[in-house]
Point group: C2
Chain length 307, copies 2
Amino acid sequence: MILTVTLNTALDITYRVGALRPHASHRVSEVRERPGGKGVTVARVLAALGHEVSVTGFAGGTTGREVRERLAAVPGLVDALVPVGGATRRTVAVVDEHTGGTTRLDEPGPLITPAEWSAFQKAYEGLLPAASAVALCGSLPPGVPVGAYAGLVRTARAAGVPVLLDTSGEPLRRGVAARPDIIKPNADELAELTGSHEPLRATLDARRRGARAVVASLGAEGLLAATSEGRWRARPPAQDRGTPATAGDAVVAGLLSGLVDRLPWPDRLARAAALSAATTPAADEVDRAAYGELLGRVSVTGEASAA
Amino acid sequence: MILTVTLNTALDITYRVGALRPHASHRVSEVRERPGGKGVTVARVLAALGHEVSVTGFAGGTTGREVRERLAAVPGLVDALVPVGGATRRTVAVVDEHTGGTTRLDEPGPLITPAEWSAFQKAYEGLLPAASAVALCGSLPPGVPVGAYAGLVRTARAAGVPVLLDTSGEPLRRGVAARPDIIKPNADELAELTGSHEPLRATLDARRRGARAVVASLGAEGLLAATSEGRWRARPPAQDRGTPATAGDAVVAGLLSGLVDRLPWPDRLARAAALSAATTPAADEVDRAAYGELLGRVSVTGEASAA
């Protein structure tokens, strides 16, 4: 199975309103809920592709219960979340009916105690032997040390499990130094990590900092990959229809899927780019027909390194 | 005990953010939760005053569980909510740290089935014999007939239990025709019911439509009461410190408290006005010291009818 780690899981709530106006009252016309946090979304995309996937991280409170009840309904997905005393955070996305614009409100997440963090590390070590790959995704909840991902990368590498890291800021900086197999920054995260706003220069720099492969997701510019096997750029044919957040998670799912299926890098990138373009923002689900159709039409350009 | 009915209970969530900007992302710095819906707030104020109070209405889903867990922690309050299949709604209040302005997002509430509505009516009839007064509060969730309050008013009157109605729009219009003992509209609700924006004229008109007593809550203008015993106006001495919604609920609690304590109308109005002014918006709780101090300083003017 593929293991995804989401230390700051969420109950993602989407509200539809006429138009959001500060300091006014609004009747919400439609409420949607789904289990969230980057690694959870990655896992749902992987399960939709037919992979067996386990989800770990923290869950607590009535919001955590709601997340777990909804994960239990996803075929192919195993809930390996670690219970905590605090309540899983909510994220609220308010979508304007008229403009389609989205306003986001993100709760910080529960305070994790040292005992809970230790319990998680033990659970993670127990899950790794059965994992073909592991993805470490998203922000850290309060109480988890900033070097958490660096430690989890080292544990995975010691267990011989390929590890992908998708986070930002200081947790990314420290995690990269622990030499993860893949990182997947977006343009902002890459610039913050390297200090360079020039993507090609920045991906190469991120490799020098420790990442064995860097796949930057650049929105409409597609994916830019720097690996030990070569450098490539992958572009989906159509306008990217995914929301930025989801699209990034679909890229991670595509990269992991291609990794465990032992695809060469250009095919992994094609899969990731097609998946990203085939993720419908409304349902936050993979449009399988669109994925199949897009897969053959992704342009991958670049060159393999001299062997 | 005093019975309060909240057909559309809520989990009230308050977020603190720097400043809400449409179509931007916000980190929430503080999250507060409390059980909500008008009748629930009324019950909490009554319990704070030392009354025994029972809360009925509907609760369901993980949000309903959260509401019930929090109600269980309130001394003097008995949970008599009827379980439903749908989930209790959330309300989200987003408070700007800089301006103090509040943006509200109200979910519509669960769809109530005919069987659930029947179960509620049976539970309500079972609770009435032990009630010294009943308050019917707030909006109706989807699926509950628009004449619901009219029926509940008639059932209470048939059982000889004094009944206060605090709602708006068509449910208020129909409820008034069933001859409740007290209604407590605000200025907008009163104007919508009667077509008159002149409060004195409108309160008299509302009595002619069937309400035995009308207590209009007019914000800074205090309370205006038209009853079979006379007409009065009650004004708290200080600036009203409560939020409008909470202040109205505190008025309802004060009127019920004065009713079951068999106070004459001027004293009931003084209690309601002082409670409203003593309800702190931050904690949504009664400031007992302020209440005691304000009670003696409410001005009640008017005249009793000729006996």
